[in-house]
């Protein structure tokens, strides 16, 4: 997996490559939910890790970050491809008041 240059959160993967996103929460225990544009991926992240295979041409995946507190908490995010590539997604996600912030990723082959 490699990051597409000058594009925000776009990653080029090999067909069938497994992508893993790891979330490290600080001062929060609520969790992260996710849904892809084609709804093939949907749910809540278990054990702070989500893995999936990029089989088609593209996957647009959105993550919603939930917090118990309106300030003072964060999630750090790491992306890893099974065929190589390790990326920290900065900055960390912090609360936007009481509504959940969103991150959007595009995985293409």
């Amino acid at each position: 997996m490699e990051k597409v240059v000058n594009a925000s959160r776009v990653f080029r993967c090999l067909r069938g490559e497994e992508v893993t996103l790891a979330f490290t929460p600080h001062n929060t225990n609520v969790g992260v939910s996710f849904e892809s544009d084609d709804e093939s991926l949907r749910g809540t992240v278990r054990d702070n890790t989500l893995s999936f295979k990029v089989e088609g041409a593209r996957i647009t995946l959105r993550f919603f970050f939930h917090f118990e507190v309106d300030s003072g908490a964060s999630y750090e995010i790491m992306l890893k491809g099974s065929q190589g590539g390790n990326f920290a997604d900065t900055p960390s996600v912090i609360p936007s008041g009481d509504v959940p912030p969103i991150r959007e990723y595009l995985f293409i082959t």
Binding site: V30, T44, R62, E68, G72, S96, V99, I102, E104
Partner: protein
């Protein structure tokens, strides 16, 4: 000014740290006077050190401000697209009060930061925002971050958008970072919705508009002022919460003591303070202690110092001398069920995530597909809006954001965020609202996007309401230092529990003993025929707190009713050490108290009326009115360094 305030607060924090560390290091055989003398020396040393540091920091900030002002005076050449003023286009400046959006007397909406009226002749958007906002100070976003609950979600999200752009710039070391739809969707869409709702009568009457444009707030569980024995206190009952870092309170008047005076109280959580100063911040410090039983144990304690500022001076002045130290206390939280991050609430949050969290996500993801254009290789997969007018507005906003002049550094944090905030506020007034209103699919999608918040926020609120009803039990030991009379030790249990609605009940049970019997000071044991017992008094207190609605736009006030029964087991000893005959007996006190917050400052004004059948020293009925000021640094700190 704000920065000076911050530095003043920081120096107080440092002073208290040294004080608490000094207390911990004092050898056991030392007398209180020796301890205080040692503390004073340490305080003086620290003051000197802190003064040197502050001078350096102030000089650096002066340079920064000069640079900023110089940069603002240089004209930029960013063109303004379709100038659209929301009110009188001829008026060059319209004031935007720091208050959050609400309804004005005529039924329309009061102006807000986002609804800034820009003079079309101004080419620099930052200048435009500043001028257009009239009395708009350049610390608005700072104030919102300080206490977001006092502002609408519209105001909050505009500020958070500015903050997030700043964070992106500083983490990627790129001052040209702008709005990015892959990470700013929540903030930008909420703000766009709010701006449209502000100018569209149809949306403004919508429930969803209220959700975004109206204000909510409040927390009332911390004892910031002195307790009921201190000179000049406005409290009868003592509340159980402890500050995460530090709080202080200055109060005037008197409640149950018979002498008037002024007491300045500092209360510090040593663990929180040490972690704060070591850079761990409010956020990570809590998380660490949850997993570390020893830190968790220490975090539950706080140390308090009260100074009677009327001692040693004709005009009450805080000089921090040992003579002014009127009480030293240690407080430990035995039970605290009022933190939503506690393990006991995890299942509730898990259920919330599976139900409301997923519903919100599904609804908003669906609407985002309608609002955002597909990301294509031709545009290098750039994220953008489907609506062309909106995308053009976003492009021009991003161009304006690239013209910021304040470097994104930690030292410049507030100035950098404020500059971004002002540009965003200015650009909002240029939003092509006519075109957007004609795009029915856009309006429907953004309506649904924001509408999804309602059940989500309701579910979240239900959990937080339950958390707020949790029990709080605290033990407190206080050593009262009198000038001439014998010192007194007080042991107090404090219990709090929500009763019904938002009404909070507090109960205190306490007993006080003399550290030394008065007879030890006056040989013979009998003074004027009175026998003094070691047990000075015991008391029981009950208090009911009722949060009030924000009717004056200041924030949520708190009304409380309290009653106290106290039994004096022997005749009272006056401040000069004399025993007052015929003062043994029962004291009954009733109190009505109103605490009014001062919007945007972290300060609160407690005003109370106290009725007593007698005082400790005088067997006469008494009615007394008190007022004071309290300040909670936690609110400031939570915003100042919220994450590691």
């Amino acid at each position: 000014m704000k920065k000076n305030l911050f530095f003043a607060a920081a120096s107080i924090v440092a002073l208290i740290l040294v004080t608490t560390m000094a207390l911990a290091q004092q050898p056991a055989p030392q007398t209180i006077d020796q301890e205080i003398e040692s503390l004073e020396k340490r305080l003086l040393e620290l003051k000197q050190r802190k003064r040197d540091t502050l001078i350096k920091q102030v000089n650096a900030l002066r340079g920064e401000v000069e640079n900023l002002e110089r940069a603002r005076n240089e004209p930029l050449t960013v063109s303004v697209e379709q100038p659209r003023t929301n009110a009188d286009p001829g008026a060059p400046t319209i004031s935007s009060p720091p208050s959050s959006v609400g309804f004005d007397a005529t039924g329309g909406r009061a102006p807000s930061a986002g609804r800034v009226n820009v003079n079309p002749t101004v080419s620099n958007p930052a200048i435009g925002a500043q001028q257009g906002a009239g009395n708009h100070t350049d610390d608005r976003c700072y104030l919102i971050r300080l206490d977001p609950g006092r502002y609408s979600r519209f105001d909050q999200q505009l500020c958070f958008l500015a903050r997030n752009i700043y964070r992106k710039r500083i983490t990627e070391n790129d001052p040209k970072k702008v709005i990015d739809l892959t990470e700013n969707e929540t903030e930008i869409l909420t703000v766009l919705y709010g701006q449209i709702a502000l100018t569209s009568d149809n949306l403004a009457r919508d429930e969803r508009a209220k959700l975004i444009l109206d204000v909510e707030a409040s927390r009332t569980d911390k004892q910031l002022g002195a307790d009921d024995r201190s000179s000049g206190t406005t409290s009868v009952a003592v509340r159980g919460g402890i500050p995460t870092i530090l709080s202080w309170a200055v109060e005037n008047g008197a409640a149950t003591a018979s002498s008037s005076g002024s007491t300045l109280t500092f209360r510090v959580n040593p663990v929180g303070l040490i972690e704060a100063l070591s850079g761990q911040g409010y956020a990570s410090s809590f998380g660490n202690s949850e997993n570390d039983w020893f830190t968790n144990f220490l975090r539950r304690g706080s140390i308090g110092l009260s100074f009677d500022v009327s001692r040693g001076s004709d005009i009450p002045t805080f000089i921090g001398s040992k003579q002014q130290v009127s009480a030293i206390s240690y407080r430990y939280e035995l039970i605290n069920q009022r933190d939503p991050r506690r393990r006991r609430y995890r299942q509730l949050w898990a259920n919330f995530l599976e139900e409301e969290g997923l519903k919100l996500m599904t609804e908003q993801t669906g609407q985002l597909r309608r609002l955002l254009a597909p990301r294509t290789p031709e545009s290098n997969f750039a994220a953008g809006f489907r609506n062309r007018a909106l995308q053009q507005w976003l492009d021009r906003t991003n161009e304006a954001l690239k013209e910021t002049t304040v470097a994104p550094t930690a030292l410049n944090e507030n100035a950098a965020i404020e500059e971004i905030h002002m540009i965003l506020a200015s650009r909002l007034s240029e939003l092509p609202i006519n075109e957007l209103e004609q795009d029915h699919d856009f309006i429907d999608a953004i309506n649904s996007f924001v509408g999804a918040y309602k059940p989500y926020l309701q579910g979240r609120k239900e959990i937080l309401d339950r958390v707020a009803k949790g029990a709080l039990v605290t033990f407190e030991f206080t050593n009262y230092r009198e000038v001439n009379a014998p010192d007194v030790s007080n042991f107090r249990f404090i219990a709090e529990k929500a009763a019904f609605g938002k009404v909070n009940l507090t109960a205190n049970a306490s007993l006080s003993i003399y550290n030394k019997l008065p007879k030890m000071m006056t040989p013979g044991g009998m003074i004027n025929g009175a026998e003094i017992k070691r047990l000075r008094d015991f008391s029981f207190t009950g208090q009911m707190d009722v949060p009030l609605r924000d009717v004056m736009g200041l924030g949520n006030s708190n009304l409380s009713f309290a009653g106290k029964y106290q039994r004096l087991t022997s005749d009272a000893v006056a401040l000069d050490g004399a025993v007052l005959p015929n003062t043994k007996g029962d004291v009954a006190v009733g109190q009505v108290k109103l605490v009014i917050p001062i919007k945007d400052t972290g300060f609160k004004l407690p005003i109370s009326i106290t009725f007593a059948n007698r005082t400790e020293l005088v067997r006469e009925k008494e009615v007394r009115g008190n007022f004071g000021v309290t300040f909670d640094l936690d609110t400031l700190f939570a915003r100042f360094k919220p994450f590691k």
